[in-house]
C-alpha cells in the first residue's frame, strides 16, 4: 500500500475519504446522484418526532397498550416512508456544471449549474456551494439552472469547491444531501483603483484613428464606418436615426496611440496590490476609450492589442499575479 501511495496512487483511506466527502474536484460532468452519494439523517424536527415516538413506545409497552404500540409503529412507518421519499427526491438528479463567472475583487462570482430532474419531479432542492445558496422545484423532465453567487473578497482564482445538494422534502423529518465537486474555477480580477491617475501617454501617431495632437480626446467629426472600427466609436445616434453608419473621429490624443502599461513604470513604493489595482483601472479605462494597449508584468507580456479578449487576458494576468512580488 505504501508503495502504491508512493507511486502516486492515493491510499485506501484517502480514497474512502474522497468517496464519502468529495474533498477533491474529481467529478466529471455530468453527475447523476445515486445511492452511493446520498446521505440521510434526521433533521432537528426528525429527532424531535423520533424522540416522541420512543417515549410513546416506552409508555405503551409499560402500560401494555397494544394499540398504543400500534399507533407508535404506524407513525414510525410514516417516518420510515418519509426517509424513502426524501431519498427518492434526490436520487436520479443529474448535475451539469455550466460556467464559472468572473468578477472584480469585492464582488461575487456566479457559478452556474444545471439540475436535470430526470423522469421524476423534484421538490424543494437546495444547492449550496461556498457561501451561496440557491434552489427550487424542478418539474419532471425539466432542468433548473441554479446560480451560486459566491463572494469573492480577494483577487485570484476561486474554485466553487464542494457543492451540497440537499432536500428535506416531504415532511422535513429527514435531510438528504449529496456532495458533488466539479473543477469549476472563477477568476477574480483585482478591484480597480478608485480615483486612479489618468492613463499614461501613449505613442502619438501610431493610432490610425488619432487625428489631432491635443491630450484630450475631443470629438472632431464623423466619417464613413469602416469594417474593424471599434464599436465604442460608432456613432450610434446616427445609426439609430437611420442616417447610416458613421464612426466618430476624435481630435487630439497626442497620447491617443497605443498604450504601454508597465509594472515597472509604477512607483516602487506602492504595494503590490495597489499597483495591480491601478493597472486594472488603467486597463478598464483604456478599453473604455477604445485604445490599444500592451501590458508588461514581471513575468508576462501582452502585445499591443485591443478588444474584449485582450482586456480579459490582461485582467486575468493581473488576477493571476503572484501574491509576493518577484524579486
Amino acid at each position: 500500500m505504501a508503495q502504491l501511495a508512493a507511486a502516486g496512487r492515493p491510499t485506501w483511506l484517502a480514497r474512502v475519504r474522497q468517496r464519502t466527502l468529495r474533498h477533491a474536484p474529481s467529478d466529471d460532468a455530468p453527475v447523476v446522484l445515486r445511492h452511493s452519494r446520498i446521505y440521510l439523517l434526521p433533521t432537528r424536527r426528525g429527532w424531535a418526532v423520533i424522540a416522541t415516538l420512543l417515549i410513546m413506545l416506552l409508555g405503551s409497552l409499560n402500560y401494555a397498550l397494544a394499540l398504543g404500540v400500534g399507533v407508535t409503529f404506524l407513525l414510525a412507518g410514516l417516518v420510515a416512508a418519509a426517509q424513502l421519499h426524501t431519498f427518492r427526491n434526490l436520487a436520479g438528479i443529474e448535475i451539469t456544471p455550466l460556467s464559472a463567472g468572473e468578477t472584480f475583487a469585492g464582488g461575487s462570482i456566479p457559478f452556474a449549474l444545471a439540475l436535470h430532474a430526470g423522469s421524476a419531479a423534484r421538490t424543494d432542492i437546495r444547492v449550496r456551494g461556498g457561501n451561496a445558496e440557491a434552489g427550487g422545484d424542478i418539474a419532471a423532465g425539466q432542468a433548473l439552472t441554479v446560480t451560486l453567487d459566491v463572494d469573492a473578497p480577494t483577487r485570484g482564482r476561486i474554485a466553487l469547491g464542494r457543492v451540497t445538494l440537499s432536500s428535506a422534502f416531504p415532511f422535513g423529518l429527514w435531510r438528504g444531501w449529496a456532495y458533488v465537486h466539479f473543477p469549476l474555477v472563477g477568476i477574480v480580477f483585482p478591484a480597480a483603483e478608485i480615483g486612479a491617475p489618468p492613463l499614461p501617454r501613449g505613442f502619438g501617431g501610431a493610432d490610425p484613428l488619432a487625428q489631432g495632437t491635443s491630450d484630450d480626446s475631443d470629438l472632431a467629426g464623423l466619417r464613413e464606418f469602416q469594417r474593424g472600427d471599434p464599436p465604442q466609436r460608432v456613432a450610434w445616434k446616427a445609426v439609430a436615426r437611420g442616417a447610416g453608419w458613421f464612426s466618430k473621429e476624435f481630435d487630439g490624443a497626442g497620447g491617443g496611440g497605443p498604450l504601454a502599461l508597465m509594472w515597472d513604470a509604477l512607483p516602487q513604493t506602492l504595494p503590490v496590490e495597489a499597483r495591480l489595482s491601478r493597472l486594472t483601472a488603467w486597463v478598464l479605462a483604456a478599453e473604455r476609450s477604445a485604445r490599444a494597449f500592451s501590458l508588461t508584468l514581471p513575468r508576462t507580456h501582452l502585445a499591443t492589442r485591443q478588444g474584449r479578449d485582450h482586456r480579459r487576458e490582461a485582467l486575468t494576468a493581473l488576477a493571476d499575479f503572484p501574491a509576493e512580488a518577484p524579486t
Binding site: A48, S60, L61, T123
Partner: protein, 683 residues
C-alpha cells in the same frame, strides 16, 4: 453539516399552518374527550376554538394583526387547571389527571403557538394525545377513531415544511393524500415492528404509584363491567402450583362476593369477619400467588381457601399486611395491594361449604327495584318446581335450551336490566347470566349471591406457571341450599366451553352451536361475524402481548434461530421494503409523465429504424424529418410532433386536455409499425 443553524428569529406560522395544527389537535382531542370529565373535555375543545376565532381577526379592523392572549395569562390558566384537576381527582400524579392535564395543556400551547418550532412541538404533543385514549378503551372503534389524527400528523408536517403558503398548502387533499399514501407505504414496517418488537415482561415504572382504579374487579358489579375487563390483557396474578395443576373447570379464583342488589348494581354486604376458614376435608392444593398491584384490599384464592395467605419465603414479613377472611370466604388484607405481592395459599377444590351464620339466609334475598317480569316468572317456575334443586335445574335448562347468547357484544340494558336481558335482549356475558340467575333464585325464595373473581388461567409453558389475566374475569353464583353454600355457574349452562377451556374456546362461532338455531337470518350472521371479528381483534391485536409473541416465535421457529440470522433476516426484509417502495415511487412518477415516456420510446424506436433524433432537434422538426423519410406516415408524425410539443411546451393546464393530448400521442405512435419493418419500408 447535519443541522441547519436555527434562525435567530424563528419564522412565524402563517394562519393557514395554524389552522392545520388546529385541525390536527381537534382530531387528537375528540377521541380522548369522552374519557374525561365533561368540563375538561369541553374546555380543551373550546380553547382550540378560541384560537380559530382569534385568527379571524377583527372585522372592523381587517388589517390589524390577529389578537393574542398574553403568555402569562395562559401560564396562569395552566396552573389554575392543574389545581382544579388536583381538586377534582384528589391527586395529580396519577394517570387520569395527567392525561386530562395533557389534554388541556396541548390546547393552551396551541393558543400561544407562533413559530415553526412551536408547531413541531405541538405535532409531537398531538402524537401523545393520539395514544392516551387507549388507556381507557382498546376497542376497534377506539382504533378507528385514532386514524384521522395519525393521517393529520403527516399532513400537518407536510404543510409545516412548505416554505410559504404555496400550492402545496392550498389544497388540503394533497397533503392528506400524501400522508395517507405514506402511511400505507410504511404499513409493512409498522406490522413488522408490531410483531417483532419485544414486549416487556414487567412494567418499568409507575404502576404502583398510580391511584387510578386500574383495570380489575371492583367493589361493585353492574352489567357490562366484566365485559369491559375482557378487553384488558393485563395480568391479574400469576400462580405456581406445588403439585399438579387442577383442570380448567375447577379453577375458580374467588374474589369479591356481592349480596346487595338495587335492581341494577351489585355491592358487597356489610363485612363480617370470621378469621377462620370454612372447615373442609379433602386433598388441599398448595400454590404461590404473585399478584399484580390493583389498589384493592382483596386477594384471590382458589375456591375454597383452606388457609389464610402467608407471605412467600423470599418476601420480608415487614410489609405490614395482615390478612383476614370474611364470612363469605373472601380474603382481605389491611392495606391495598399497591405493589407486586407474593403469598402462599392453600385451597381445597370444592363447590360447596356449610354456612356458618344465621343471617346468611335473610341477607341474600334482596331483590332491589324493578325487574318485575323476572320475579313473576321465577315465582311461577318455583310453584311448578317445589324442590329447590329441580327449580335450579329448570332455570339452567331455560338458559341452555332457549335462545340465550353468550357474547361480548351485549346490548345496553338501561332500566330493569335483568328483565331486559331475560326477555328482550337474551344476549349477555357472564355477569348478565349470574345476575339474572341470582334474581331468579331469590324471587323463588332461595338465598343466593354473586361471586366475582377469575375463572381459568393459562399455563405459560416456558416458565411453567399460570397466568391469570383480567380477561379471565368471571362472575358466578352461590345458592344456600340445606345450609350449604353451593356454587352454580349459569355461564356453564350456556357456554360450557367457557368453563372447560376458557374464554378463547367459548366465543368463536363454531363453539357456540346454539347460535346456529337463530334461524340463520342474515342479521344473526352479521352478528356472528361481528362477534368473531371483535374476538379476533381483542385476541390478536389488543391481546398481542409478550406471551402471544413468544408462542408466535415458537411457531415460526424463531427462537431456534441464531441471533445473527434473525437480525440479518429483519435487515433483509427492511431493505427489500425500501427497494420496493423506491421502485414503486419511481415507476409512479414515470407514469405521471406519460408523454415523456412515450416520446423517449418513440425516439428509441426511430433510432433503431435508422433515424436518430439530433440533440438540437425539437419535436416539430424531428417529426417533419421523419415524415419526409416515411411519407406514408406523415399524418401520424405530424400528430405526434404537434401533440408532444403542445404537451411539453404549450400552456395546457387542464388535466382533461392533457389526457386527450396524451391519448392522441399514444394513438399516433401506435399507428407506426415496428422499427424493423419501418427500416425496411424506407429502404
Amino acid at each position: 453539516m447535519i443541522f441547519r443553524k436555527p434562525a435567530r428569529e424563528a419564522p412565524a406560522l402563517s394562519p393557514l399552518k395554524v389552522k392545520w395544527l388546529g385541525a390536527l389537535l381537534l382530531a387528537a382531542q375528540i377521541p380522548q374527550a369522552p374519557h374525561l370529565p365533561i368540563w375538561v373535555a369541553v374546555a380543551g375543545l373550546m380553547l382550540v376554538g378560541v384560537r380559530f376565532l382569534l385568527l379571524r381577526g377583527n372585522p372592523r379592523r381587517p388589517d390589524a394583526p390577529p389578537a393574542r392572549i398574553p403568555s402569562w395569562a395562559l401560564a396562569l390558566f395552566a396552573v389554575a387547571t392543574a389545581l382544579t384537576l388536583r381538586q377534582s381527582y384528589g391527586y395529580i400524579a396519577g394517570r387520569d389527571p395527567s392525561v386530562a392535564f395533557l389534554y388541556i395543556l396541548v390546547a393552551i400551547k396551541f393558543l400561544e403557538t407562533r413559530t415553526d418550532r412551536d408547531g413541531v412541538l405541538l405535532v409531537c404533543l398531538a402524537c401523545f394525545l393520539t395514544m392516551t385514549p387507549f388507556f381507557y378503551s382498546q376497542s376497534l372503534f377506539a382504533a378507528l377513531a385514532a386514524v384521522p389524527a395519525v393521517v393529520l400528523v403527516g399532513a400537518t408536517l407536510d404543510v409545516l415544511s412548505a416554505k410559504d403558503d404555496s400550492k402545496r398548502v392550498v389544497a388540503p387533499c394533497v397533503a392528506i393524500r400524501r400522508s395517507a399514501v405514506m402511511i400505507l407505504q410504511g404499513l409493512p414496517i409498522a406490522i413488522l415492528l408490531f410483531v417483532l418488537f419485544p414486549r416487556l415482561a414487567q412494567p418499568l415504572w409507575g404502576l404502583p404509584s398510580d391511584h387510578s382504579a386500574r383495570t380489575g374487579l371492583s367493589d361493585s358489579m353492574s352489567p357490562g363491567d366484566i365485559t369491559e375487563l375482557t378487553v384488558s390483557d393485563a395480568v391479574a396474578f400469576r400462580v405456581e402450583f406445588e403439585g399438579p395443576v387442577p383442570p380448567n373447570r375447577d379453577r375458580y379464583w374467588r374474589g369479591p362476593v356481592f349480596s346487595r342488589f338495587d335492581g341494577t348494581k351489585w355491592t358487597a354486604s356489610a363485612i363480617g369477619m370470621t378469621n377462620s376458614v370454612a372447615p373442609a376435608t379433602g386433598r388441599s392444593i398448595g400454590y404461590t400467588v404473585t399478584i399484580e398491584p390493583n389498589n384493592r384490599h382483596w386477594l384471590f384464592a382458589l375456591d375454597l381457601p383452606s388457609s389464610l395467605p402467608k407471605p412467600a419465603d423470599n418476601v420480608q414479613e415487614s410489609s405490614g399486611y395482615t390478612a383476614r377472611i370474611t364470612r363469605d370466604q373472601q380474603i382481605l388484607i389491611s392495606k391495598p395491594v399497591s405493589e407486586t405481592m407474593q403469598y402462599v395459599q392453600r385451597s381445597v377444590v370444592r363447590s360447596s361449604y356449610a354456612s356458618t351464620s344465621q343471617i346468611d339466609g335473610p341477607a341474600n334475598l334482596e331483590l332491589g327495584r324493578g325487574n318485575e317480569r323476572t320475579i313473576a316468572f321465577a315465582r311461577e317456575l318455583r310453584e311448578a318446581n317445589p324442590d329447590p334443586r329441580a327449580f335450579i335445574a329448570a332455570i339452567l335448562t331455560k338458559f341452555h335450551d332457549e335462545e340465550y347468547v353468550y357474547t361480548l357484544a351485549t346490548p345496553f340494558y338501561a332500566s330493569n336490566p335483568v328483565d331486559g336481558f331475560m326477555f328482550d335482549g337474551r344476549r349477555g356475558f357472564c355477569e348478565h347470566f349470574a345476575s339474572a340467575f341470582v334474581v331468579l333464585l331469590r324471587a323463588g325464595g332461595i338465598p343466593a349471591r354473586i361471586v366475582t373473581g377469575y375463572q381459568g388461567g393459562t399455563i405459560n409453558p416456558r416458565g411453567n406457571y399460570m397466568i391469570v389475566r383480567q380477561s379471565d374475569a368471571h362472575a358466578w353464583t352461590e345458592a344456600l341450599i340445606d345450609g350449604q353454600w353451593q356454587r352454580f355457574d349459569p355461564t356453564a349452562a350456556v357456554s360450557p366451553s367457557r368453563i372447560e377451556i376458557g374464554l378463547g374456546g367459548a366465543l368463536p362461532a363454531s363453539d357456540i352451536p346454539f347460535l346456529a338455531r337463530l334461524d340463520g337470518s342474515w342479521l344473526s350472521n352479521v352478528r356472528l361475524a361481528w362477534d368473531a371479528f371483535n374476538y379476533d381483534w381483542r385476541r390478536n391485536v389488543v391481546g398481542f402481548n409478550r406471551d402471544r409473541q413468544r408462542s408466535l416465535f415458537r411457531d415460526w421457529r424463531v427462537d431456534e434461530m441464531a441471533p445473527w440470522k434473525g437480525v440479518f433476516l429483519v435487515a433483509l426484509v427492511i431493505f427489500a421494503w425500501g427497494a420496493l417502495v423506491v421502485v414503486w415511487l419511481m415507476w409512479k412518477r414515470r407514469h405521471q409523465e406519460r408523454a415523456l415516456v412515450l416520446w423517449d420510446d418513440l425516439n428509441r424506436r426511430l433510432a433503431s429504424a435508422g433515424l436518430p433524433r439530433h440533440p438540437y432537434e425539437g419535436p416539430l422538426d424531428f417529426a417533419k424529418r421523419a415524415a419526409a423519410r416515411w411519407p406514408q406516415f406523415a399524418i401520424a408524425f405530424s400528430a405526434i410532433g404537434e401533440s408532444f410539443a403542445e404537451l411539453r411546451y404549450g400552456a395546457v393546464d387542464v388535466t382533461r386536455e392533457r389526457e386527450a393530448l396524451v391519448a392522441t400521442l399514444q394513438r399516433a405512435i401506435e399507428v407506426l409499425p415496428a422499427p424493423a419493418r419501418l427500416r425496411s419500408t424506407s429502404a
